[in-house]
Symmetry: C2
Subunit: 216 residues, 2 copies
Amino acid sequence: MSLTRIHNLAISLDGFTTGEPQTLETPFGHAGERLHQWMFATRFWNETVGKPGGSEGADHAFAVRHGQGFGAEIMGANKFGPPGWQDDPAWQGWWGPNPPFHTPTFVLTHRPRPPLVMEGGTTFHFLDTSPAEALEIAREAADGQDVRVGGGASVVREFLSAGLVDRMHLVQVPIVLGRGVRVWDGLEALEETYDVEAVSTPSGVTHLSFTRKVPA
Amino acid sequence: MSLTRIHNLAISLDGFTTGEPQTLETPFGHAGERLHQWMFATRFWNETVGKPGGSEGADHAFAVRHGQGFGAEIMGANKFGPPGWQDDPAWQGWWGPNPPFHTPTFVLTHRPRPPLVMEGGTTFHFLDTSPAEALEIAREAADGQDVRVGGGASVVREFLSAGLVDRMHLVQVPIVLGRGVRVWDGLEALEETYDVEAVSTPSGVTHLSFTRKVPA
């Protein structure tokens, strides 16, 4: 069965997935890469960037599932590029010629453009549509595998609010960002729909796994 | 050495220490007692209310320190009573004749009243003063023991912002409250001043221990 999953979404103690302001030079604003250091230490990340080494423990076990079992990704316009990327016809995302998605990847934007075929299996498709419709399209493209909702926080909130998410994996990093885009806003009583497991690891982060409850 | 400590302060995933609205019937608003169930399951709590039983593990080990080594408490007006308690000369706090503080307890309010001597060693003193001055008075009363900053969230934020807190123990409960009083607001970069340890326990909560860094 094809599930809709959020995975490896890092948040600060105060729930921000990114700082501010987002620019070409600072994709995560004043947060820099501090939300992702836990991941950079894992074997998963080292293999992703073609380096040896990396930790093998719980952080790796969680992180590596980012690439497993997904047949498509959906992301928001703010994940694909800095403010104004829609005005730059040459913009191809942050990730260089071989993006780390390796599947059809659907970018939600009010200004769609033709599909962009990249190396390594990633093709960016641009959709001006609702979360539910985008999910239907991505599900078809995923061909029986799972669909990842890749963020940022506002897209994650939209999909959660619409009841479209089966599994969510958040990684809480022990920093207080104070400002940015917060994942929790508008999600009161989320625990009524999801079982939540918390596991802290020696790196200092806490993995929060949300599993949608089976209706009684 | 006498430290200033925050202990057993429970927060939701989205950082609220209480819901809303606070009334005489609902001291924690729509949060009810959901932020405190982890504590009610411990031997610490059972002994506090004179009952047998209760869990003996990590939650108990953290919780029991609430009563150990403190010589005074400071709390905000919103912890002492519901909105408007200042207009009720008979109000003596939420806790009945024998409050669980057992030390001098300083209530910050713009409308001070004479001290209130309760059973079991608790005397409420009412102060209209700054956090730093209140701490000086409480430190004197604590007679070499630690001073607990008892909350709520706005008082905790004031003391943290003023650099007055040596240790903080938060307990993150896996619920999303969505509204209430948030502990994190205005505390950007708190991790620069504190080492943070996260430990999740089988009950589902995550204990966050903040230890003030020793200046280099």
